[in-house]
């Protein structure tokens, strides 16, 4: 059995740390883990994707289309862009706040994110929408978005990692001065 989680967003949103936290939780359970990251030019505001897979035996670090148990999207359009990776009946956790690319701002495009959320609602069996503005306001920092999204996925049961296991990974992997902030974000999502 392999659990596959695809994280997607825009360069700079913190997908890499999020994938490391899932990997750490799975390693802690004695599972074999593979991940693949986007590093390089695309980190400058481009689309980034992290693949995280764990189980007894994992051949490829890259998730095939139709192979993801859960997609954690840091941005609505990126969820739609990667939706073909979702398994039938898989779960999507999406942050509802769009990142408007400069090309859209220049071209006067009307991209607002709402059309993407509607598309996701119509085409995803199980959709969990997170409100990053509210999370960041409640927790007092924009940096907790990644951990909060992970917590939503953990709570849904689709991630194969429990909320407590995620908490332990945060305590083990994140610098101590950020512990309180991140635990607060997890608890907010777990309410």
């Amino acid at each position: 059995m392999v659990t596959s989680c695809l994280l997607c967003g825009v360069g700079g949103q913190g997908t890499v740390l999020a994938s490391k936290l899932i990997a750490a939780s799975a390693m802690e359970k004695g599972l074999f883990v593979r991940t693949a990251e986007t590093i390089g030019m695309a980190q400058r505001g481009g689309c980034v994707v992290s693949h995280v897979r764990f189980g007894d035996k994992v051949s490829s670090s890259m998730i095939p289309e139709g192979g993801a148990d859960v997609i954690i999207a840091f941005e609505p359009a990126e969820a739609v862009r990667n939706l073909r990776y979702l398994k039938k009946g898989g779960t999507v956790v999406v942050n509802k706040k769009p990142v408007i690319p400069i090309t859209a701002a220049l071209g006067g495009s009307s991209y607002t994110g709402d059309e993407m959320l509607r598309y996701l609602e119509e085409n995803t069996g199980r959709l969990i929408v997170a409100d990053s503005d509210r999370i960041c306001r409640e927790c007092g920092s924009p940096k907790v978005l990644n951990v909060a999204l992970l917590a939503y996925a953990a709570k849904s049961g689709a991630l194969g990692i429990t909320v407590d296991e995620l908490k332990n990974a945060v305590l083990a992997r994140v610098p101590e001065k950020f512990h309180e902030l991140n635990i607060k974000a997890i608890e907010f999502a777990n309410k």
């Binding site: 825009v10 360069g11 990997a23 750490a24 390693m27 074999f32 883990v33 593979r34 991940t35 693949a36 990251e37 986007t38 590093i39 390089g40 030019m41 695309a42 980190q43 400058r44 505001g45 481009g46 689309c47 051949s59 490829s60 670090s61 890259m62 998730i63 095939p64 289309e65 139709g66 192979g67 359009a77 739609v80 862009r81 939706l83 073909r84 979702l86 039938k88 408007i100 690319p101 400069i102 090309t103 859209a104 701002a105 220049l106 006067g108 495009s109 991209y111 059309e115 993407m116 598309y119 119509e122 085409n123 924009p142």
Partner: protein
């Protein structure tokens, strides 16, 4: 042994340390950079680690360490191997004493590169053995074997990971006890270390003999394997091996005979013959060049085997870009007739926003490009760009990169254009790290040949694109030591550049004036150094905010500079506070002064 979760690049670094590496050099380049950075992080008292000025310097220094009996590793990306190819081709003839690994990371796609060249082809060209890992854990294993082989045959050995191996992470079994290798020191032997035509002739014969022997050795290597059965075959190399295993699972494991190749050159011919015997058709799965496909076709011809080889050359697989589990599924399905499970049919999605990579909010390059663009408005000018973050200056609305070829070529390409178009002002844009890596020779060429060009040096005090590595101008080395900063302006002056101006690109009026002076001087080489640190190595100066009642919604702040922090919201400009660094570029061009400091 202990289990560590490592990125492929980290696994290579750990393996080098555990193999007793004494000397590690390299030049940053995606996807290879983290190998050397990890070496620096985990180094012990027997290891020296440096970012060299470029790949040629790195490879030559590593060769010297290896001549002296030290175990060395030199790291670069595939286009870096082109820079290092002069010493590499000769070193293949001279050979080494201490084990030496040349890591050249390939980038199928390409994801962050200029070319889709294949280091396996380069290895064959250089007549050097090459290892091609499928995963981080295999890369770890291959490093140890490569050092053993390198010392047994006194030859440099190439390790060729690809992006998905370099930037993939896996649980890797790592030794906790690094081997300690004490180098013998340099032993004078001019018949061995001085390359002459006669030596090259003698060594050429030895190399060919050795490679025939290595082909035999590799036929029994644990990095090559023959499994399965039937009349249909699949031969796979690199990360495509992982895709193949996953695809076979998805397709319900149809009957096939499988040859996995981890040592593509010298090609394991005996093993390949055994594989091909009794087969009707073979599908070859590999990325970049059809290296395995050609080798199998050769074996078929040599032994008169009637086997159909399907791959890139036959048009059965894609000849450019990456493989994926899905593409490999399709190929295997076509070979075996096994059907691919039907994918869920999603309705057409709303138009997705495109996200080309852009210069960061607050990036000083944006201000530099804007200053030159403004200063040259309406004048005939060509802007020659180079490799680095500033290649992104080509995007709208800046549109300030007319050419980009390879490291250092901005300065020399501009000279050629100037000789054909004397009336045009020819600009070269080069970053600080690229200047040291391969820009200086071009400046000497321009001064010597008295070619009128304007060099704009974008000095952001770091090697930004590859992740903020130090370079000769930063005053820091990879051993964490402070070194004398090498001054770009003094270097230019010493070469004979008559006019060198330095200013901050954010001081827009001064910046434009400096560019104009340089453009109008037209007497040999002129340079303007725009100096402001990369936002990744400096603290933001504050955050700007739009005064909504003053903003007239003209959009000039967006249209002119294309900063990702600025967008329109309800017909007014809006500055995203999480991105703004307070650089002030947008505030300076607002016609109604609606942008100011946030309270």
């Amino acid at each position: 042994m202990s289990k560590k979760f490592l990125m492929g690049n980290e696994a290579i670094a750990h393996a080098a340390k555990n193999s007793g590496v004494n000397f590690v050099s390299g030049y940053p380049g995606t996807p290879s950079s983290e190998i050397l950075e990890t070496c620096a992080k985990i180094k012990n008292e027997n290891m020296y680690v440096e970012w060299s000025v470029n790949e040629k310097a790195a490879l030559e220094a590593a060769a010297g360490a290896s001549y002296s009996g030290g175990r060395s590793m030199v790291t670069m990306k595939q286009v870096g191997l082109n820079v290092a190819s002069d010493p590499l081709m000769s070193l293949a003839y001279v050979g080494v004493k201490g084990g030496m690994i040349v890591v050249s990371a390939d980038d199928p796609g390409p994801i962050s590169s200029q070319t889709e060249q294949d280091t396996r082809t380069f290895a064959e060209f250089a007549k050097l053995p090459v290892f091609d890992p499928a995963s981080p854990e295999e890369a770890y294993e291959m490093v140890g074997e490569a050092y053993r082989l390198s010392e047994e045959y006194s030859t440099p050995v190439i390790l060729r990971p690809t992006t998905r191996v370099c930037h993939g992470c896996a649980s890797v079994e790592v030794s906790d006890v690094p081997e300690k290798h004490i180098p013998e020191g340099f032993v004078k032997d001019s018949k061995r270390w001085v390359i002459f035509p006669k030596l090259s002739y003698e060594n050429h014969k030895k190399i060919e003999k050795r490679n025939t022997e290595l082909s035999e050795v590799f036929s029994d290597s644990r990095f090559n394997s023959l499994t399965g059965s039937g009349r249909l075959g699949i031969c796979a190399g690199g990360v495509s091996r992982a895709y193949m295993h996953e695809a076979l699972d998805i397709l319900g494991n149809p009957e096939v005979k499988i040859l996995e190749v981890g040592t593509p050159f010298p090609f394991p011919e005996r093993l390949a013959f055994e594989f091909l015997s009794g087969l009707d058709e073979v599908l070859v799965l590999e990325e970049l060049d059809p290296v395995l496909e050609k080798a199998l076709t050769y074996v078929c011809g040599k032994y008169h085997l009637n086997v159909r080889i399907r791959g890139k050359l036959s048009g059965d697989t894609a000849n450019a870009g990456e493989n994926t589990v899905n593409s490999v599924c399709g190929y295997i399905s076509k070979l075996t007739g096994a059907s691919v499970p039907e994918a869920e049919n999603l309705p057409e999605s709303p138009t997705l926003p495109v996200r080309p990579p852009v210069l960061c909010a607050g990036c000083p390059h944006r201000a530099s490009f804007y200053a030159v663009k403004q200063a040259m408005k309406g004048k005939k000018a060509v802007f020659c760009g180079d490799i680095g973050c500033y290649t992104l200056g080509n995007a709208a609305p800046l549109d300030m990169v007319d050419t980009c070829l390879c490291m250092g070529a901005d300065i020399t390409v501009a000279q050629g254009i100037k000789r054909i178009e004397p009336e045009t002002v020819c600009f070269s844009f080069i970053g600080d790290s690229t200047f040291f890596a391969s820009g200086i020779t071009g400046v000497v060429n321009a001064v010597y040949n008295q070619t009128d060009i304007v060099i704009i040096i974008l000095d952001n005090s770091t090697t930004a694109m590859t992740g903020q590595q130090p370079h000769p101008g930063t005053g820091k080395t990879m051993m964490g030591e402070i070194s004398e900063k090498i001054s770009i302006e003094k270097t230019l002056e010493a070469i004979g550049v008559k006019s060198v101006e330095i200013c901050s690109p954010f001081d827009m009026e001064n910046a434009k004036a400096a560019v104009l002076r340089a453009a109008e001087a037209s007497d040999g080489v002129r340079a303007v150094i725009f100096r402001a640190p990369c936002i990744a190595v400096s603290k933001p100066t504050g955050k700007l905010r739009v005064n909504e009642s003053a903003c007239i919604g003209c959009g000039k702040c967006i249209r002119e500079i294309g900063c990702p922090a600025v967008a329109m919201k309800d017909k007014k400009a809006y500055i995203e506070p999480s991105l703004c660094t307070g650089c002030g570029l947008c505030a300076g061009l607002c016609p109604v002064n609606a942008i100011g400091g946030a309270d």
